[in-house]
Symmetry: D2
Subunit: 384 residues, 4 copies
């Protein structure tokens, strides 16, 4: 077939351009997705800013490759298959099915794949939209494209037709919050982990912070305190159910500490979730936590630098339970989709996507995504 | 009664002297212990060096008071009671009973006392050997004395007569390792927490490190790797069952990383326990940990300064489960005593106490305790 | 004072009558509550039917005493105090404060009180409305009375003034659902415990079943299936958010199994909660559970007889996680009150109380409570 | 090749005979093991007695097939491969490697395989030594044979050469105890799960009971009480480290209850493990458990009938945490092997295998295995 596939390519840090690629030949067991929508995620922005080391210091460490077709928050429809393809639960997929995919292509053989539930830590992980260079076949391995190539044995999940694209594009983001479930799983009544009606403070309420806010609420949080530098985002957080908001630019650390202590009987938040992606906010987050509280480090997905902590005060005397997170259990997609269906009317999901662009507008899309006053920016393939 | 009680007093940082105190009047519900032995603990050494903030940044924050009769690792016999006194489990104690005590006197009313199992976090905690000044009655509130005053409602535990004093003096230390149990409680097979046959690396094998080594072994550790600057202590660790030892002064960080990776299939240790008390070893400890591993911060009991971490590499990408610890559940004393009885012949417990001094030798005792080549130094009241 | 206190007395099984008691003298540390409302609980009905062994086979085993002023789901106001009284968190209470109480008076000294979080298992437990005979002073030790005597050191909790009495009277009931939290705490993603969006089946949706339904929903349940013999109660369950209902009288076991399998991809419910109080429903509940599912036995609070299970099929091959429950952690009252405030408008709480009676109508109240078509019957002291 | 393979065949319940089978053709990805030793397990004995429903009431339910070459506790060496075969962790196996195998061949696609760690619950499980009839190719699919056929993608684990065959043959059995680890993972200090120094009572100390005894000890058990009908086995249990033994045939239930209460401060055992395989012992086991204790149902691997329990007394009032178990996480083989190496000299492992027979002696082997006074009976291929 002589058709051509258009895609938005990150040529090098700071440089986006539209390129065209040949229609791919499908290897046995592969398939092709016609894209509906693909999000710009925080890690994409980091790569654009030239900051990208992903999974730093682990066997899975990856560095940004260029040129690259990014996009790992994807929704689309199957248009071609070379042989049978099974969804995550082993049921056959068909042409026309609406699907999303786990961005990780895992080896299923390494120690981590054999020993950790949900395959989140593969030592030989390849990520759609990150790992594959655009100048080598099959080229179209990210979602910022008209069509996306799916290798054999990827984890593919059917998405209900009634999900608008702007809702479906957030499924991956919502799965990434599964550390909140885990904190719940470490619950030993009031003492530890994430207990019923615990006060949850979220550092940074961009898309990732709002996703965690939603999950915390659904799992029985009490007061939720949103902390951010942007009034726009704090207002959004209110709309998603935050009980209190604190603007970092209008308060000192002492004032924030005082506010949080006042809201928590003098103790500090029961759980603090870091979703700013900035290394330097971590010490403050730990200071705002109560003794024996839970700290979720869920923002530094790429290497964003160092910070200085007082080991006694921030970790030992705090008796902290700290859970780091980059990645998610692939096994949680279907229950996340179920959750989004059930809570469809409980949150203003439509506000997650603040801007939509065509592939041709890729430079503007990228720039828009970098503005703190915006939320999630997506490529909407229905825009021409 | 005109009797006089002799005690070793820390008059100010760097200064120890023997003083005499009046025989105390017992308030209703109090009792008096004739001391057999009392240990010099790491926090005592810190106070001597003038570094002491305990429970920094929490409601329970305490600063060193001077003059102070220290000593919270205690074993002795009841010699006087003013009314009935009950042991931890509510059974009456009698004159002549051999006992140890939890050093914490808790309020039993604050949020933490009401809501956290084992009362480890009291917001109004008063600690024997730390909180009370020696120049105010009842004066003898630490174990470095011939007799020790026990306030009403302290947590007192009977100790079997067959325990030598040098064994009994380590009970408190062993209880402090209960975070290892907790890590076990977070076990989700190989994925998280402290699993069967997990490789455990211990940073610093002084008394605290050896105590954690023992606990890790009893709970099913696999290979145990001891890391220290002292060959004397590393040899001790071998005697307590460490499988491998690494001397920090004879290796570079790169070499240590390589050794640990080689011992762990390229992954890093499943659990790392910090018991050096030094802030700066934490980043290395996190680097030596496998992805998804467990880090126990169990050494910085007093404020020992800051360190610099890379939030992405050390916490997020590491997917760490980090548990801070200062203090212990009071409820774990009796089962710890049971454990020491059962495993009496499995570890060279007699080596824990490396030096014994009389109260009169208090300066020498303190100096000896500061020498890295020594282990636990105790005051032995049978020495005159 | 010569005032007289009126109370509804269960004189013997099957016999209720109004009696008058002398205004009590308060021992030091006691107080007196003017009752607003007190519920008739399932255990009260059992006692009325002469079936009552409570905590059977444990150190805390209690048998019904007669005559007895029952009532342990209570809301009222403090009208007299003999000395200071502290609430659960140690804050002073005042005359006029609106309060509820934990019905258990615990010893705080037994092994269980010393070792189990939240004091649910006291070996020497005395229960308001159960343990004390009405013919001995201070007589008025249950809530079915104008005034209720509160012994020193009971666990008392302030209740917000904006809670209507019919809401406040259900606080204790809601605390009893804390096993659902615990199941959540045993969550290891999809594999075990109560995971996000898990299908929850509730056997019996009387007040206890609805309370568990609410808690399951607040903690992130997926589909909730209510099973009962009463269409009245099943309709109520729908109103509280059940997704599916099954009437046991209109279906065979085979049909129920089929329905549940169809709703769960052929597997069975992820969690089943037994709140009928009937021993014989347990095998069916286990059959309706998926492999590796969680079974909460939360209904047989008194000895309601035996049942026959197949150990292989119901327990071993089912790989069940089964949690029995009678009682609740006292520590969970305040967070339960917070939960009821936050979710005030999410559930039709007002339907919990289906009938209100004055003390004078105590016979009718008891009879009404026994009718399967009714929900919670209460004594409303504002009715004369 | 014209070679013939000899095997012991269970022709029908009660009937064993030696048969010969053709040397198999290996399908691509298959391999052939030369057997060293294969155990007779409890489920084999049940099949011989005609009692076999395995995984009853689940999607994986299997019924005994006849004729069948049984044997799923296996140790042998690879002698033929058709293509590459990878071990569990993905490393290539070679001819001459000594291996054991997980008896389960799982689909890796069903809900359970996708969602439960370690693949213990496959809905489409096929078991070596159980599922395949001996009269159909490749015939030799159990370990009671000179050679055993290994299908592609089975879970194969290398076994150290220094393991004697009689030690290696118990690896599978030891993995089956992983529920003890799980109970440890549910530990919330003294309150729940399997805590440090907890008293563990084991009902039935045949091979399965001894395996659980070992695991409980390695994970920090306190007193271990063995209960059995055979003095021979009780003496064995003592040798493996049981602190107390009770012979059921020499005591009444009342006496056993009294003994256990006396050994546990009046409370009952903290954990009871059922490994008799008899349904009727479960109520007694629950009665011997303390309130809030943990009950592991680990014996009724096949349908062994029903029993009668009092739901209030045995489950609800007991506040039991009950874990059913049939099967094991495949992921635990390597750490189990590590454990057996480390604890090689701590237990008299050599006593596990009480009798060895050649294949030709298969009738006698089976009869011997049914005698209560014997422990594990194995086929030893080095015997001719």
């Amino acid at each position: 077939m002589s058709k051509i596939v258009k895609a938005a390519v990150m040529v090098e840090p700071g440089k986006m351009e539209v390129q065209e690629f040949p229609w791919p030949d499908l290897e046995p067991g592969a398939m092709l997705i016609e894209m509906e929508m693909s999000g710009i995620c925080g890690t994409d922005k980091h790569a654009f800013k030239g900051e990208m080391i992903l999974y730093g210091g682990t066997e899975a460490e990856q560095h940004a490759v260029f040129p690259c077709i990014k996009g790992h928050e994807n929704i689309g429809r199957i248009v071609e298959m070379n042989g049978q393809y099974l969804d995550y639960d082993g049921k056959p997929l068909n042409i026309g099915d609406r699907v999303t995919m786990c961005p990780n292509i895992i080896c299923q053989r390494c120690y981590y794949c054999r020993h950790v539930y949900g395959w989140p830590y593969c030592a030989d992980n390849k990520t759609y939209g990150v790992y594959f260079p655009a100048d080598q076949p099959p080229h179209i391995t990210g979602g910022w494209a008209e069509y996306m190539y799916i290798f054999p044995n990827s984890f593919i999940y059917k998405v209900p037709d009634e999900f608008p694209a702007w809702l479906a594009v957030n499924i991956e983001l919502m799965v990434v919050t599964s550390n909140v479930d885990r904190a719940k799983g470490y619950m030993e009544f009031a003492s530890r982990g994430f207990g019923l009606m615990d006060t949850v403070l979220i550092q940074g309420v961009g898309a990732m912070g709002l996703a965690h806010l939603i999950k915390a609420r659904i799992l029985g949080a009490g007061d939720i305190i949103a902390v951010d530098i942007s009034d726009f985002r704090l207002k959004l957080a209110k709309g998603f159910g935050a009980d209190y908001t604190i603007n970092v630019q209008k308060t000192s650390f002492r004032e924030r500490l005082e506010i949080v202590k006042e809201l928590t009987g003098g103790r500090g938040a029961d759980m603090v979730i870091e979703t700013t992606g900035l290394a330097e906010v971590v010490p403050e987050g730990l200071d705002l936590l109560r003794r024996g509280g839970t700290y979720l480090e869920a923002g530094n997905f790429v290497d964003a630098g160092e910070t200085t902590i007082n080991v006694h005060r921030h970790l030992a005397a705090k008796n902290v339970l700290l859970l780091g997170n980059t990645n998610h259990p692939n096994s949680e997609y279907y229950r996340t989709i179920k959750m989004m269906q059930r809570y469809r009317n409980n949150f203003p999901w439509e506000k997650f996507v603040s801007h939509r662009f065509s592939l041709d507008e890729c430079r503007k899309a990228m720039e828009t995504s970098l503005d703190e006053e915006n939320l999630k920016v997506v490529f909407d393939m229905s825009k021409k």
